[in-house]
Amino acid sequence: MNIKVLYFARIKESVNYSTEDIVLPADVNTVVALKMLLAERGEVWADLFSGKQVVRAAINHELVDDMMALKDGDEVAFFPPVTGG
């Protein structure tokens, strides 16, 4: 399936991407599986997405937990814990 991935704040600066389109392998169908896929890209990515850091996820503008299933066409966002207000 095809998804769009967005990165924000510290994570955006670390990976040097703000958005990308990804075609997912069939077995990557949850947020946590996507994180593992991204972690395989190496250093900075591994550091962020292999579970050592808190990385929040949203699907289609809703906060979700790592077990959430992905659907074709989803907009997935990764970001650090929020600090507004």
């Binding site: 949203a58 966002a77 814990p81 507004g84």
Partner: protein
């Protein structure tokens, strides 16, 4: 219920007057104004830049308002949050709640702030003498939000 995310400053007096004059049923208006401090974690902060996730920001703030309205008997709520580059003493956020009686406005206003702090996708980056750095989320904000999960919503006070 209103949400505004904007780079421009806002006029607290005008916003509050419009809210409280909207209905003669309103007896209480509670609001929170957040502003940029010149110190954070022991360092002087010269500017603060607020990044956000457009669309999700508005959606999450609206859902926080809906949740507040479902928990307490309030008349209306307003959230204005600024994004972009700010200086110390600049206003960041206004949360205002009107109700017939004060207890519910106090609770709803604090609830909205606590949820905003942990669920609305804003991120602060501050400029200090050592350069720029992202502000780290505070455990205390998670604690503040967490207490509403078990809150018994029985108002004890009355305007």
């Amino acid at each position: 219920m209103t949400v505004r995310v904007q780079t421009e400053d806002f006029d607290v007096g005008a916003e509050l007057a419009a809210m409280r004059l909207a209905s003669k049923d309103i007896g209480a208006l509670v609001n929170f104004v957040g502003q940029v401090r010149d110190m954070n974690d022991g360092d002087v902060v010269s500017t603060l830049t607020l990044e956000h996730y457009p669309c999700m920001t508005e959606r999450s703030l609206e859902s926080i308002e809906v949740e507040a309205k479902s928990r307490w008997n309030i008349v209306d709520s307003l959230i204005i949050h600024r994004v972009g580059k700010l200086q110390p003493l600049d206003q960041i956020v206004l949360v205002a709640v009107t109700s017939a009686h004060r207890g519910e406005a106090f609770k709803a206003c604090e609830f909205i702030m606590d949820y905003l702090k942990t669920r609305a996708p804003f991120w602060k980056k501050e400029a200090t003498a050592d350069g720029e750095r992202w502000v780290e989320a505070k455990i205390s904000d998670d604690d503040a939000q967490g207490r509403w999960a078990n809150a018994i919503d029985k108002p004890v006070s009355d305007k």
